[in-house]
């Protein structure tokens, strides 16, 4: 993302102009835009003209509109962001108050105005404009009969392909069917890799599985690559790394990212950092449950006593359409920061973020043990 201009006054109201450059930036934009903001961008609108004689002609016009946001829609797979709202600046084609849906496009500037830019939003702008934070990863997690081909960007884990086939089991004297099934399964994975993994961007492809599936697949893939002349694969052979995972389900990506053998390769990408912190939280929960809290209420209490050392928050909470709710979390984050605590904002698109989301979305490791009463009634 490129920051074009920034105009935020003392009261934290103002606007920011940004140019999204890659798919992930849409994700950031999605996290920045909340209901009630104003958004200005170029768009295409169908305009009806009525001539003096009464004949109606419809034509499409590219125009710049400013809307007040009423609904936001994000497609995680395609990384498309659609924002619906009412026009607040009349122009020659569109009247005041007319509804319009803006499709944010790559490489087109948009301007976002807020009454109140909070610390979370400002952090995010900073983060998304930081070009050093790019480490694209691809991962294939598999087990016999099931594979997920995923792309891992700093803020997103996208499942690009889920491959599920039946592989006949070995039976007495009938192993060919098993082998055939397996080869077909591998072929499908290879196709998925070729289709979805952009080797120019991706630094490393993790191949993870329990047992020997990964080794078998690795061998098979390069044998096929030689046979069928998949140059891309051969050229990027060094990017493939084999890692152990306990299953082929998506959540075992967490294990993959934890693996010490690849930790060095990934340096400190956001994904691995998140996994590590979450792990730490669970460690505390195991060893000293009085120092690991989850759920907003007990954590707020703890924060009041300056007890929070590390706060884990899912970014999902800041997308809340309820302004008060959002305010509450932002305050919590600010409070923890003031007291010198560390705040980790998890991307809800990562596996670890998903898990945190299940844990009410907010968790904390405390500096000192606090007795926890659990009369809080958290639903779900």
């Amino acid at each position: 993302m490129k920051l074009v201009s920034r105009d935020i006054d003392k009261n934290d109201s103002g606007s920011v102009s940004l140019i999204p450059e890659e798919a992930e930036d849409m994700w950031h934009a999605y996290n920045l835009i909340t209901i009630g903001d104003t958004l200005r961008s170029t768009t295409i609108r169908k305009v009806q003209n009525e001539s003096a004689t009464g004949s109606v002609s419809v034509n499409k016009v590219r125009t710049t509109l400013t809307i007040q946001v009423e609904a936001i829609d994000f497609d995680t797979q395609g990384c498309v962001l659609r924002v619906k709202g009412r026009n607040i600046e009349e122009n020659q084609y569109v009247k005041m108050g007319a509804y319009h849906t803006l499709d944010l496009e790559l490489n087109r500037k948009f301007t976002l105005g807020k009454h109140k830019w909070d610390s979370i939003a400002l952090d995010r702008i900073e983060m998304c404009c930081d070009p050093t934070q790019h480490a694209d990863l691809a991962a294939v997690v598999m087990q016999e009969g099931l594979a997920h081909v995923c792309l891992i960007t700093p803020n997103m884990t996208l499942v690009r392909a889920k491959i599920e086939t039946n592989i006949p089991r070995k039976r007495k004297g009938m192993c060919q069917q098993h082998d055939k099934g397996l080869e077909k399964f591998y072929d499908m994975i290879i196709q998925a890799i070729l289709r979805h993994v952009k080797f120019e961007v991706v630094k490393c492809v993790l191949v993870a599985s329990p047992g020997f599936v990964k080794d078998q697949f690795y061998e098979y893939m390069f044998a096929q690559a030689v046979k069928l002349d998949y140059k891309v694969l051969l050229e990027n052979k060094s990017k493939f790394v084999l890692v152990h995972s306990s299953s082929g389900f998506k959540h075992s990506l967490k294990e993959v990212l934890q693996d010490p053998s690849i930790a060095s390769k990934l340096a400190d990408t956001k994904a691995t950092g998140e996994v590590k912190v979450l792990e730490e939280f669970f460690q505390w929960l195991q060893n000293d449950p009085d120092r690991a809290f989850y759920g907003i209420k007990p954590i707020e209490k703890a924060a009041d006593q300056l007890a929070v050392e590390t706060l884990l928050v899912s970014d999902e909470l800041f997308r809340s359409s309820d302004f008060k709710q959002r305010r509450r979390y932002v305050n919590l984050v600010d409070k923890v920061r003031e007291s010198g605590g560390d705040v980790k904002i998890f991307s809800s698109l990562h596996v670890s973020g998903e898990q945190l989301g299940q844990l009410s979305g907010v968790a904390a490791i405390l500096r000192f043990p606090m007795p926890c009463e659990d009369e809080d009634s958290d639903e779900d």
Partner: protein, 767 residues
């Protein structure tokens, strides 16, 4: 455009099948009649040097080795007499007919010979061929007797002495008689029965040929009689004319005259061919013969023989059938578990070999090949580890399933992988088992690694316990590596028995057997090793297996079969395998495939490669179903009865016992849910309450987290609906396991289904 599409789809098909082997290509060649197919297969086998083919069939004590090779030589070089074109044609048509009825159970050369001898008279040759197969049976009477029981053969002969003498063939021959001249499908059925009966009783080629000679002297006169006897019945059935008294009585005459012949067994065979006639139809009692002749006539009154036999098939009282089958040996499902490299596969491979289930030649081949790979000691494991990958790595990766027999039991053996990555497979196998053998490695240091917290000895034992395996043999393997030391054995036994008690096994259900899988000591026979036999006087492994207490099976509950494997078998339909968890299934039944909610029809059932008409809870079966799309079938889908279908749940409440967790369980905990053959990701959505481990009282409501070794009630949600049975309805099917990051973290019992497929909440008012 559409033409273009055609071309494309054709290409796809080509690609799909082009490198398929023979067994697959039948799939697409529907147009070929099964008879032709049978002939075709056989010819292929015939054309190859027969050694490998024969080798697999025999499974024979070594002394017969020479004979076999002689015979093989004979069949290889066999090139019948030179025939005129006309005769050749006749011969071929006879051959085909015969094959329709007999399947592949008789070598072609023998068939040719017989047909030629009878001058292309099909009936006569068939009779002779069929009889030939009967013949060797008497040599193995005790076995066959049980066999016929277990096969639930249609014989309703109840007198024990006669049962003894009624080989399974009686049934097939009976069928043949009833349906003579009917379609080849049934012929194949018979062929199968014959085939299997033969394989089981280990009739060898030698024996067969031997028999041919034996029979030679009675053959000529008998076959003529047989021809007569055959003719009327077939005529009757085809003409639907109930009484042909003259021919009938003639037939009976034949029988009674044959009573005097030197071959009582075959007479009895024929008697049972006449089938439903009561058992007191004693051989030389003329009056009884008369009465049975009337009964026989009665039996012929129902017109269409084919349909009548079909309907008879279905009307068979299931319970009766089951009771009859249980009359023989007990069936038991045995899983072999233990730490990786404890020698599970080798132990069982060697056991199978000693019991004669693996023939020597094959074993020799394995030995050679494994030596070539530098893994000579893995030869026995190759009996069970059949995929290339498993052999190359020397690690079992998936469950291998075979069957063997002990004096009192038919044992379905499931060899589980020990490697921790393959525990999902092991769970699938163990869920299907009733009893188990836990193999531990006696070698210094190896036992300890397996037994420590990271080892699979513990985990497997716990898993087996939680999956309902209550009887366990601890096989202390590799005793040869510790010089058969009694001290070492006692040490291991002591450690294991304390642990097993902790794990919740009852002492009387645990037994320890020292043995060695590699040397084969104390498996089927007691050891000849002096160091060992000096102190060990107890049971051998096989004796101990024989002592397992049979388990009761929920035969009368609604039918359920968890699909463990799906493949395209020969012919049409989809084959699925699995253990029947409860109830029974018959050929022609309509079953429901859940959670896809599709109706399917059971086309065929096989147990251990034998076609059967019905199967019961506890059987490992391959069921051929039609009417469903293969995409609607998943591993873990279920076949269930249409009367009492299963519910598909997306959210359940369960009571769990947590094992050694590294991380505490909180809500939102992602787990892998293992249930029977099913493996699904799931999320612990809610911790309802923490329970006292022993008393089950609620200690705390809504706990924040659950740490290791606690018991709790939790709610679990799945990504897609899965079929479950509540613990209170079925104890075996109500259990599941939870795993995370390669560790088994909990075992659970399903208490309630909270949400079903449609997303509608099941009202929990009941609880």
């Amino acid at each position: 455009m559409s033409r273009h599409r055609n071309v494309r789809s054709m290409n796809f098909e080509d690609e799909y099948y082009d490198d398929d082997d023979y067994s697959h290509s039948y799939d697409d060649s529907h147009c070929v009649s099964p008879g032709t197919v049978a002939q075709f297969t056989f010819n292929r086998d015939q054309n190859i040097n027969l050694t490998s083919y024969m080798g697999e069939e025999e499974g024979i004590p070594e002394e017969e080795e020479e004979d076999i090779s002689d015979n093989l030589q004979g069949s290889k070089d066999y090139s019948g007499p030179i025939l005129s074109d006309l005769d050749e044609g006749k011969l071929n048509s006879c051959l085909e007919e015969a094959r329709n009825i007999l399947g592949e159970s008789v070598p072609e050369s023998v068939m040719r010979e017989v047909i030629l001898r009878h001058q292309f008279n099909l009936e006569a040759s068939l009779d002779e061929l069929l009889k030939m197969q009967d013949a060797p049976k008497p040599q193995r009477q005790p076995r066959q007797n049980r066999r016929s029981g277990s096969q639930a053969a249609a014989s309703q002969l109840t007198g024990p002495s006669v049962i003894l003498k009624t080989p399974p063939k009686s049934r097939s021959a009976g069928n043949d008689r009833d349906k003579s001249g009917n379609d080849s499908g049934i012929g194949n059925d018979i062929g199968n029965v014959i085939d299997s009966a033969e394989a089981l009783s280990k009739v060898t080629v030698t024996e067969k040929n031997h028999v041919v000679i034996n029979y030679e002297w009675t053959q000529n006169d008998l076959s003529a009689d047989l021809k007569n006897s055959k003719a009327p019945s077939s005529e009757e059935s085809s003409l639907n004319q109930p009484d042909l008294p003259s021919s009938d009585s003639k037939y009976l005459n034949v029988t009674s005259t044959r009573v005097t012949s030197d071959n009582p067994e075959s007479v009895e065979t024929y008697k049972s061919v006449m089938d439903d006639s009561p058992m007191d139809f004693i051989l030389d009692n003329a009056q009884k013969v008369d009465s049975s002749s009337t009964s026989k006539r009665d039996r012929f009154i129902p017109p269409l023989p084919k349909s009548s036999s079909r309907s008879k098939y279905e009307k068979v009282d299931v319970k009766e059938e089951y009771a009859k089958r249980q009359g023989g040996k007990d069936k038991i499902n045995l899983v072999v578990i233990g730490h990786v490299d404890a020698g599970k596969s080798t132990l069982m491979g060697h056991l199978l070999y000693q019991l004669g289930n693996v023939n020597k030649r094959l074993m020799h081949k394995y030995e050679q090949e494994s030596k070539k790979l530098g893994k000579g000691s893995f030869a026995f494991a190759w009996v069970l580890d059949e995929t290339e990958e498993e052999r190359a790595r020397g690690v079992t990766m998936d469950i291998a399933q075979t069957q063997f027999e002990t004096p009192g039991k038919i044992v379905t053996l499931l060899d589980a992988p020990g490697h921790r990555d393959f525990i999902p497979n092991m769970i699938t196998g163990t869920a299907q088992a009733d009893v188990g053998i836990l193999v531990v490695n006696a070698t210094k240091g190896e036992f300890e690694t397996g037994f420590e917290s990271g080892g699979q000895t513990r985990e497997h034992a716990l898993l087996a316990r939680s999956l309902g395996v209550s009887q366990l043999i601890i096989a202390v393997n590799k005793m040869d590596t510790v010089e058969w030391s009694k001290f070492r054995y006692d040490e291991i036994v002591k450690k294991m028995s304390t642990f097993m008690k902790q794990a919740g096994y009852k002492e009387e259900n645990i037994s320890c057997i020292p043995c060695s899988g590699l040397t084969g000591d104390n498996l089927a026979h007691s050891s000849k090793e002096p160091l060992f036999s000096s102190w060990y006087k107890g049971n051998t492994l096989v004796e101990q297996i024989d002592k397992f207490i049979p388990v009761s099976r929920p035969v009368d509950k609604p039918f359920r079969l968890y699909i463990g494997d799906i493949f395209k078998g020969m012919g049409g339909g989809i084959s699925v395998t699995g253990k029947i968890a409860s109830g029974n299934v018959k050929q022609g039944d309509r079953v429901l495939v859940m959670p896809a909610m599709e109706l399917a029809i059971v086309k065929g059932i096989t147990i251990n490669e034998e076609a059967v008409s019905c199967a019961f809870a506890g059987d490992h079966v391959t069921v051929v179903i039609t009417g469903v799309d293969i995409t609607n079938l998943n591993i873990g889908s279920i076949l269930c009865s249409t009367d009492v279908p299963m519910k598909a749940a997306t959210r359940i409440r369960a009571r769990v016992v947590l094992f050694n967790l590294e991380l505490p369980m909180t809500k939102g905990y992602t787990v892998v849910f293992h249930y029977q053959s099913l493996t699904e990701p799931a999320i612990v959505k809610r911790l309802v309450s923490q329970l006292n481990k022993s008393s089950g009282e609620v200690i705390k409501k809504r706990p924040k987290c659950l740490t290791k070794n606690t018991s709790a009630v939790v709610e679990i949600e799945f990504e897609r609906p899965i079929c479950l049975e509540l613990f209170k309805d079925n104890k075996d099917l109500g259990r599941f396991m939870l795993r995370n990051s390669g560790q088994t973290i909990a075992a659970g019992l399903i208490e309630e289904v909270l949400k079903t497929k449609a997303g509608d909440e099941v009202e929990s008012a009941a609880s």
